[in-house]
Symmetry: C2
Subunit: 211 residues, 2 copies
């Protein structure tokens, strides 16, 4: 029988590649990308150090791949929030934060990775992350332009507000990671985030460009 060769060659390669990414994600939980050694990764994956080069030219490239992955899932999250109904402001706030919390739970390792490397990673990785966050800000700004009340806003002011919101959400995500596994601390973070977003929204509603 030789039951249908269960794994094609490309599949096996892809599986190893995934294993490398997962190992890197796991091993950066303590330490940075720059402290992550190729040999540690290889050992955890179960391959010999030199086999690593069949998949990536350096550890930094693994970092860039992880940035792509992380923001791919984050963009999926944002799309999800965005296509929801535009009901009251309070509902938008609550729904956004609930979605963020769920996503941080689901992709904790990715968020931790981004939070760390955003400030401390290799230059190329830092630049990639900064670029992705800027894309998020831009997308949010175009969405905000569609909201009632922002008709008279300058595009600069829209970008400023979206920057403010993104910054607040990033720091909320970081706080959630810090509250790991302590439900009451996490609830506190969620309450704070809700109030923060509402304050921001009130500021926005009373804002008039060109004052």
């Amino acid at each position: 029988m030789t039951a249908e060769s269960v794994e094609t060659r490309a599949e096996r390669k892809e599986r190893t590649r995934r294993a490398i990414l997962d190992a890197a994600l796991d091993l950066t939980e303590d330490g940075t990308l720059s402290t992550l050694s190729l040999r540690q990764v290889a050992k955890q994956v179960g391959i010999v150090p030199t086999a690593f080069y069949r998949h990536f030219a350096s550890v930094d490239e693994v970092g860039l791949a992880l940035v792509d992955e992380s923001f791919a899932s984050l963009r999926a999250l944002l799309r999800e929030v965005r296509q929801g109904p535009v009901d009251g402001a309070a509902q938008i706030v609550d729904r956004s934060i609930d979605t963020l919390v769920a996503h941080v739970h689901r992709h904790r390792a990715h968020f931790r990775f981004i939070a760390r490397e955003r400030a401390a990673g290799p230059l190329a990785v830092r630049m990639a992350i900064r670029h992705e966050i800027e894309l998020c800000e831009r997308e949010l700004a175009t969405d905000l332009a569609l909201l009632p009340g922002t008709a008279a806003w300058s595009s600069d002011d829209l970008r400023v507000l979206s920057g403010l919101i993104v910054t607040s959400m990033v720091s909320t995500a970081e706080a959630l990671l810090g509250a790991e596994g302590r439900p009451e601390a996490e609830q506190q973070v969620v309450r704070t985030a809700r109030t923060q977003l509402r304050m921001l929204l009130i500021g926005a509603l009373n804002w008039h460009s060109r004052t």
Copy 2:
């Protein structure tokens, strides 16, 4: 004659200690504390590796000392801003941001260090930084309580607002570091920060606790 022994023993030790801290600050410009090796530091200072232990038990302890230093100067900054006159809101915003910009220029290395290690440093260092930032938030909250218009605010809401402001200032500082040496980019960051703080202020002025 033997002209007054120019350096006492304790002075010399202190000078070496400073040299170690400066070297660490300089060498972390590329890489993190965890990638910083005791041997690199020793070489830059001009001492043999083992002499390092006369001053610090580990690289992490150097990190903690640097956290102390950084926030000592930051607290001086905050005191300076705080004791200024309480004129119009716009003046407070402008003065705060100008002071921040000046301070980031003066202590760029320290700010870079904090920005990096806040997310990526050793656990003890991360905790120390988080604690210091929390102190800043608390002090700001008590100052905000003295401002007109916040009389009816709950203490929770005061903390939330001060958290929002601190977060915004931290991200402004990070943006300033990113705009290193490009004056037009830096001016853009300053303009954005001003608008952000004003939006926050408007949100605060229209806020009513317990809604």
